[in-house]
Amino acid sequence: MTSALYVLSENLESLICKNIKALPSIEYPVQQFQKVYQSNQSPVIHYENIMTFVHIRRDSLIFLAVVDRLDSFLMEILTYLDQFYELLKSYLDVKTLNRRLLLDNCTLVMELIDESLDYGVIQVTDSGIMRDYIRIKVNVPELSTNGEGNSDNIEVCSCSSSSSESESGNEPGKPKQKKKHKHKHKHRHKHDTKKKTVQDTKKDIEDLTKNVVGTLSSDPLTLIDKNRKKKSKNDIEDMIEEEDANNFMNSDIAKTTIMAVSWRTKGIHYAKNEFFLDVIEKVEYLMDFTSNVIRKNSIHGEIVCKSFLSGMPTLKVSINKILDQDKQFLTNCKFHQCVPTEDIEKAKEIEFIPPDGPFVLCKYDLKRHVRDEPMVKLTSFEIKPKFKKFKLKMYITIETHFKTTNSTSQLNLKIPIKHILHDYTIDLSKNIKFKCDEGRILFNVSDDFLLWEIDSMKGGHGENKLSMGVEFALFNKAEYAREQEELKNSMNPPPLRQGPKLEELYRQVHEHDPEGHTNDLIMAPAPPPVIDQPVTKLEDKDRLLKLSFEIPYLTASGLKIEYLKIEEPQLEYQSFPWVRYKIVSDPEYTYLIY
């Protein structure tokens, strides 16, 4: 079992440490870990027959558990670390964690560890339930500047604590929520209106910049107060409501973890009872275009739900795959702990009590047959150098393979051209010519790729095609020499050039490249061209043509929710179930070209 838990930064400095089993020295293990650790090492390191290090790397952090005994079930610890990371993310409400964030919230993290582990035995890792236990304010960078405007902060604080005091009679000593940030408030409404959050964050950023300006000026407090005052009046009212909602703590909550239904607390109430069910299927496809071999063709499906239902509702969901006894689906799907897995194979529907808020109901991975056409297919990719004309042409054609009634809501092709730039001497001083049936083509100078943006493309079965062509100019040595010669001899100034000077941009961007791409290209006013190619390292990722797309209202596997019933025998409210389908391309929806 875990005897100590650490969160380490990239350079193995300990950010958070928690001595779980009262080790005599909390530093010793981490010092030893620093000695044995090398990047890319397997997640389990056994050290000198004394202890075992189990670690995972997430973002720029390393989560390290020190295990004292040998026959501990390591899987449990690895899973815990993974889930703990997810927990932190959902708690701090960020996409990626970093060092700063953890240091800012060190007491919160400590408490999360405390609550999720009892003497090394894992208790809970579900963020929904944890939220009921631990209600420390989250310290997110944007908001930390609030600290400067103390007056504002305290005001908020005072109203919140008064409300909590009024309740403290009911449940003495429950962890009190002292401060509640607007941030949470926004989070609430995120589900409803995405746009609003965007606006809000914009506002926040504005605030932030104002704050920064404020702090720079001589009298920070007054300035900030000014820009706060307008907002604070309405805000505070909102906040008081929020506070109430958040400070209200059901006395049943504490017992949640030990109840039969451990993932849902009693006494949840919503004015409008809604249940969102999204079937999101990530399609993965990897094809070696040069040898015509399909490496991967699979679907990673997830049924993501958001539940805003009062009371203890029972849901009945019928999935056509279960009805049809689809073998592949039944054996490959994994359900959330709220779904009783005993009789899935026999039952026609799944019946469960959902947790509150967002959760993943089901995950499944399906293999597609090699012959099954990919949703969006690359049909041709050609590079035609025409040395006589000093031109290099590239043609790409794609076609769709899904229902004609649907269309993509987003479709991007990322075409790496590092190889072209590497293999041929391209003269970037001459314009690159693009042509495409639909959408537009962009050239990313710094990362060497073309981006073809097609927003919407209709479905079809191979008959719907789009193609594009690009023409690069190859370096013409004779012409270059002639021009140079002319420039030298004539009195005329060099001809004016319009548009961006790509070659210069390219050189600037690649100047700091350690591999020295600078010689790859011939720059017009550059020092004499160097024709011999330097040895540049072309990585695998430079050979992958990546497609990213989204197709709403469709599933690749044909999964369908036959019906979704919500029943709450006691409250019998009207409820609104929403079902959506979407196909998304996996980050590995790629074609290996070159």
Partner: protein, 704 residues
């Protein structure tokens, strides 16, 4: 309260100033300031600034008394715990505060106080903790959450006072057996008992009756994910099914848990099922399918988890002659973005999975990896191809050698060197099969730089001098600057030259031998090398001077004796395998070593005896569901075997020693990494399924 300032080293006096300075102003301000100061203390403890922080102890005590804010309390407890685990004695003064919290009516506070008591290794604290826990378990109507924490805290207290913890174990047994408390408390008791028994070598292994196990399995729907995982973990080995039907029943319950989204639960379920399979005589093919599928589904996890799963797959592939899981090789094909440890493990899996039917696909993959940009990877792939040639029969070896030759044509230095190194092994396995091919390698002499490939080439030249006509020339290349070579190359040159001389004594070789003897005895400063050179020298001169004592044949026998044919044996000792199988998901499964080799103190797990235990792992029959009921042939065999009933030994006792097939030495499995230790004395005997064992097993079933 900017947070930048929280996380930096402070002097005690600075924080103290923070704590006290503000008392005159508004009350709200104070709480905020004080909290910030307290947070600074925790941050400083994380930074390891103990010496300074200990000085603040009196201030902390002061706050502890007055504050009733939960967060402040938490920090106070955290502070005491941290200081306490380092300097237990210094925290005695906080005792009254802790006791006060412990007696309060707030559950959270009580839990916190108990944790603090338990975490400080000092008798006074331990004493109080015990008193509290004893009071708690005797009082029936306590909150389950508190009780659960109390039970888990015994795990920690065991380190301080083992005897007293054991005196409480009866109560824990009661909780588990009598179903008195809420499900999660039962699991807490179970897990605590299990861990205690496991930790102490003196205690008997923990065991549960089948009925209790059923009761526990019944509460699974009421448990949260981690408790389910613990339960399944604890049941392995502790519950011993006494009839086949019990085992089947439990397998059925556990099967549904394979579909749990939590990896830990599904792997524990897998472990439990694999354990139970030892107690059934036949399983339906649908069960093995589900096992395989769940394993495949688990492979979609983040790479760290995937690593552990892969390691365990290796284990599953090893444990039975006919692996219980059937996983298509394509799942183990390497992705370019896999971390190195995954790549290595997948290579191992591929190596283990390879047989005649899968070889073509695997070879194709390996050939691709061999041309990988990553040098290490391509080396490993080449090595794997070579090992496959040795592992599988001669027809497969032909394919492997073809692939190797094809790869060599590219002429990449490190690939060629690696190929030569592995080719030596292939030659040792099939001494006469690849005579033609080895001539081809002589053209790559220039590439050879590394000691290992040099050694291999030297060995090849010296061993096959009869077909290599230009062996003397080749050999001259190696001895060009003999003094600069690393010791292992010097050794092999010495051996090889003597061998060549004995084989075909020509003046040229004799010359070489003499110069080598001279340089090694006079110029080189390596005593071992000098010793060996002297030894050979003496030997040769003795053979020359006194042929009656040492004739040419004897000399040949000494210098160029017959080498044993090498085998790559991927089998482990069955006892170890059994232990490993029971330790799925633990560290032993990663290193594939028995427990004793890694942690001395740990107990060895073994399958408990039961009348239905399978004596032979391989005797398990995988049936197709429809055939089970009416299979006339099987009935028949059952019938005929009844005559042999009397000579069925009881399965109790040393069941492994009765099996003749298994006395092969255990071998390292990780053949792909590092150096190969591939020589083995005994050639592989094909483990044929013994008909007598089959009969015995069948008759046993009937007997029941």
């Amino acid at each position: 309260m900017s947070d930048q300032r929280v996380f930096s080293r402070y002097k005690a006096s600075e924080i103290r100033a923070d704590l006290q300075n503000v008392e005159l102003k508004k009350a709200k301000m104070n709480t905020l300031r004080r909290k910030a100061a307290l947070k600074k203390i925790i941050a400083n403890l994380t930074l390891g600034n103990y010496a300074e922080m200990i000085q603040l102890f009196p201030d902390i005590l002061k706050f502890w008394k007055v504050e009733d804010d939960m967060e402040v309390k938490r920090i106070c407890h955290e502070y005491t715990r941290t200081i306490g685990s380092i300097k237990p004695r210094s925290t005695v003064e906080s005792m009254p505060n802790i006791m006060e919290d412990l007696k309060s009516h707030d559950e959270d506070l009580q839990i916190m106080a108990l944790e603090t008591l338990v975490n400080i290794p000092f008798t006074k604290f331990t004493e109080e903790a015990f008193n509290f826990i004893i009071g708690l378990v005797n009082r029936r109507s306590t909150s389950s959450r508190l009780l659960k924490t109390a039970i888990y805290s015994l795990l920690q207290l065991d380190d301080w006072d083992h005897e007293r913890v054991m005196s409480l174990s009866n109560i824990l047994y009661e909780i588990v057996e009598q179903h008195l408390e809420s499900p999660s408390v039962q699991i807490a008791a179970l897990k605590t008992l299990y861990t205690l028994h496991d930790k102490n070598k003196k205690l008997e292994p923990f065991s549960l009756s089948v009925d209790i196990a059923y009761n526990l399995l019944d509460i699974i729907p009421e448990l949260n994910e981690w408790d389910t995982s613990s339960l399944l973990e604890c049941l392995v080995v502790t519950v011993v099914p006494t009839t086949h039907s019990d085992a089947y029943e439990m397998i059925n319950i556990a099967l549904s848990q394979l579909q749990h989204v939590n990896t830990s639960v599904s792997l524990n379920a897998l472990k439990f099922i694999l354990y139970l399979i030892n107690y059934v005589d036949e399983i339906d093919v649908s069960i093995t399918e589900r096992l395989s599928n769940s394993v495949v589904a688990l492979l979609e996890k983040p790479s760290e988890l995937q690593f552990l799963i892969l390691r365990n797959i290796i284990l599953l592939l090893l444990t039975r002659e006919k692996p219980i899981i059937q996983v298509d090789v394509s799942y183990f094909f390497i992705e370019f973005n896999d971390p190195i440890y995954i790549k290595d493990t997948k290579l191992e899996c591929l190596y283990l999975l390879a047989n005649e039917s899968t070889l073509p696909r695997i070879l194709e993959e390996l050939e691709q990896y061999s041309t990988d940009i990553d040098i290490q990877m391509s080396r490993k792939a080449v090595r794997a191809i070579g090992n496959l040639a040795v592992k599988l029969g001669d027809i497969a070896a032909d394919n492997c050698v073809d692939t190797l030759l094809h790869l060599a044509e590219f002429g990449v230095d490190y690939v060629v060197q690696e190929i030569i190194s592995v080719f030596k092994n292939i030659l040792r396995k099939y001494p006469n099969r690849y005579r033609k091919e080895l001539i081809l390698f002589t053209k790559y002499m220039d590439c050879i730089q590394e000691p290992e490939s040099k050694n291999a080439m030297i060995w090849i030249v010296s061993n096959y001098s009869e077909i290599l006509h230009n062996y003397a020339e080749l050999f001259d290349i190696f001895i060009a600057d003999i003094t600069d070579e690393p010791p292992e190359v010097q050794f092999s040159i010495l051996n090889a030259s003597v061998k060549l001389f004995v084989k075909s004594p020509s003046p040229h070789i004799e010359n070489i031998c003499m110069t080598l003897f001279k340089t090694f005895t006079e110029e080189v400063n390596n005593p071992d090398l000098r010793g060996r050179a002297f030894m050979y020298w003496k030997l040769l001169s003795m053979a020359k001077e006194r042929p009656n004592l040492l004739n040419e044949d004897m000399l040949k026998d000494i210098v160029d004796g017959e080498l044993p044919v090498i085998e790559l044996n991927s089998k482990l000792d069955p006892v170890i395998l059994e232990e490993l199988e029971l330790n799925i998901g633990s560290i032993t499964s990663i290193y594939l070593k028995p427990t004793v080799q890694i942690f001395r103190q740990n107990k060895i797990k073994s399958l408990p005896q039961s009348p239905v235990l399978n004596a032979n792992k391989n005797s398990l029959i995988i049936t197709h569901s429809k055939q089970v009921v009416s299979d006339p042939i099987k009935r028949d065999s059952n019938h005929t075997s009844s005559s042999s009933l009397k000579d069925v030994p009881s399965t109790k006792g040393s069941r492994i020693s009765t099996m003749g097939d298994y006395d092969r030495p255990a071998q390292k499995v990780n053949e792909l990494k590092g150096k190969r230790k591939s020589s083995s004395d005994s050639p592989v005997k094909n483990l044929t399924r013994k008909p007598s064992l089959l009969i015995r097993k069948l008759s046993l079933k009937r007997n029941k």
